[in-house]
């Protein structure tokens, strides 16, 4: 298992940088994570709406939502989501929000 240090704390991540244990995440880690993966910083209120939604979905459903679900339910439209997280909202928001890689749907 890989580890890395964020905001002074060591956390476990997988080979793509996704958190293994969402409970190891704290809010002050988000800006550092965002910078690492090319999410525009400083994080805006809208970014935080999405990050909080990611975490609540993860704890309720056991996996992060897809882009489509984010666009319908997070309160931020799909177009805006791609401005906030240019390289793919589902993946980048999951990385910043410290939740494991969304399973996607198959």
């Amino acid at each position: 298992m890989l580890t890395k240090t964020l905001a002074g704390t060591t956390v476990e991540v997988n080979d793509e940088g996704f958190f293994v244990d969402a409970d190891q995440w704290t809010e002050d880690m988000a800006p550092e994570l965002a910078e690492e993966i090319g999410v525009p910083t400083p994080l805006t209120d809208q970014h935080w709406v999405v990050l909080k939604y990611m975490r609540s979905e993860y704890f309720e459903k056991g996996t992060g939502p897809t882009v489509r679900k984010l666009g319908k339910a997070s309160g931020v439209t799909t177009k805006e989501l791609f401005k906030l997280f240019p390289k793919g909202p589902a993946k980048q928001a999951a990385l910043c929000a410290g939740i494991p890689k969304p399973r996607g749907c198959i």
Partner: protein, 416 residues
């Protein structure tokens, strides 16, 4: 007081039909009344849609009447569904009537929502932009392909979830075969465009399928998020502004639950799928509502094989519920898909919620090869159509094949 219970089934497709027939065999008519509702009387064998564009099957061969697939003693209502009132245990139908139920089974599947993507159904729809996920689209494509001899064919999955997630890949493989046979493959460029980070979601199968795409000279574009389809300028436009030019685009539109779900308070999620217990298939909406097949929000493939395997579990749990016991029989997410790879060959994959598709044999040490091209798998896929009408829908079991995924015969991946 009569002890007659009323079961209403919404949808007479794969799930609704097999459940109605299995339950009719289990219960006498004075114990259980079964009513089933569908908006039309055309039962389409959906895997057949894939073959129509390539002239490998005719539309007439894959459609039968819904009511003819149902055993005697099942009341068939042909009308659209307006809404479900989960507190009043009542379904309102578009013909003005309503049905009261003691237990409800939702099996209305997933519907295509092409209008949710900007431009998709605008100019060029059914001229340069098609889908093969319905009869209209797949027959229009057959005509289009007839005189298509050079240019760029793009296959694009807009976003998950979709029915039969392997079908778009099969389409790419069959297109390669079709244009090779026609002698124009060198003039037809084929590109597969997906929002996923690989050809498929599950790692071992994704690697195999990616190398097959490469072998067949099909380009793969991953993590492309289609925001708009312009059928006049012939471009897919990504949310990040990236463009992909095409001569023909074969698009798999967004999917959602049936329309009435959104008109029924507390029934569905944002996409119109019904929140359902992964294991028991009882809905999370009300204990007397069960869900079968694509209509559920399960983290399993939206595929006929999944619905088939769910069928047995569903029937047992519904029996327990009708007896006043807890539904506790568990479905494991088992899916089993033949993947046509062209040139009369196919792959087979077999997996569940926990286990990804791997190599080996199915259903045991001796059986069809898994994750490997073979003629036997292709024949298996072709023969399945007959079993669908004569075995699966009437509710017969396949000897030696239970609902849950077999582990013997499989090579387990080494976990990293």
């Amino acid at each position: 007081m009569s002890d007659l219970k009323k079961l209403v089934i919404l949808g007479a497709g794969t799930g609704g039909t097999l459940a109605a027939n299995r339950l009719r065999k289990k219960y006498k008519r004075d114990k259980l009344q079964i009513d089933i509702v569908d908006q039309n009387n055309q039962h389409v064998y959906q895997p057949g849609l894939l073959f129509i564009p390539f002239g490998l099957t005719d539309p007439d061969d894959i459609v039968r009447k819904r009511d003819r697939q149902l055993h005697k003693g099942i009341n068939y209502h042909q009308t659209a569904i307006s809404s479900v009132d989960v507190d009043a245990n009542s379904v309102s139908l578009e013909d003005g009537s309503s049905l009261q139920y003691d237990v409800l089974l939702i099996a209305t599947g997933a519907v295509l929502q092409p209008e949710e993507t900007e431009g998709l159904t605008g100019p060029g729809w059914m001229e340069t932009v098609f889908t093969f996920y319905d009869m209209e689209g797949s027959t229009a494509l057959a005509e289009k392909f007839d005189d298509f001899e050079s240019g760029h064919l793009v296959i694009n999955v807009i976003d998950m979830p979709i029915k039969c997630p392997v079908a778009p890949l099969e389409f790419a493989f069959l297109a390669d075969w079709y244009f090779t046979d026609k002698g124009v493959r060198d003039d037809v460029k084929i590109t597969y465009v997906t929002p996923l980070d690989g050809a498929f979601t599950k790692p071992t199968a994704s690697a195999t399928l990616s190398s097959l795409l490469e072998e067949k000279n099909i380009d793969l574009v991953t993590e492309f998020n289609t925001g708009e389809v312009d059928g006049e300028a012939c471009k897919l436009i990504g949310y990040d502004g990236t463009e992909i030019d095409f001569d023909i685009a074969v698009v798999i539109p967004l999917h959602g639950g049936a329309e009435y779900v959104n008109n029924s308070p507390d029934l569905g999620d944002e996409l119109g799928f019904i929140p359902t217990d992964n294991a028991t298939l009882q809905s999370k909406v009300r204990p007397n509502i069960f869900v079968l097949g694509d209509a559920a929000d399960l983290p399993a493939s939206k595929a006929g094989s999944v619905t088939h395997f769910e069928g047995e579990v569903l029937v047992e749990n519904m029996e327990r519920f009708l007896d006043g016991r807890e539904p506790d029989v568990e479905f494991d997410g088992h899916a089993n898909c033949f993947i046509e790879t062209g040139f009369s060959k196919a792959l087979l994959i077999d997996f569940n919620y926990e286990n990804e598709p791997v190599t080996g044999h199915y259903p045991g040490l001796i059986g069809l090869p898994l994750l490997k091209e073979s003629r036997a798998n292709h024949l298996g896929k072709l023969m399945f159509q007959s079993f669908y009408w004569h075995g699966l829908l009437p509710g017969r079991d396949i000897p030696g094949i239970g609902p849950n995924m077999p582990k013997s015969g499989k090579k387990q991946p080494v976990s990293s």
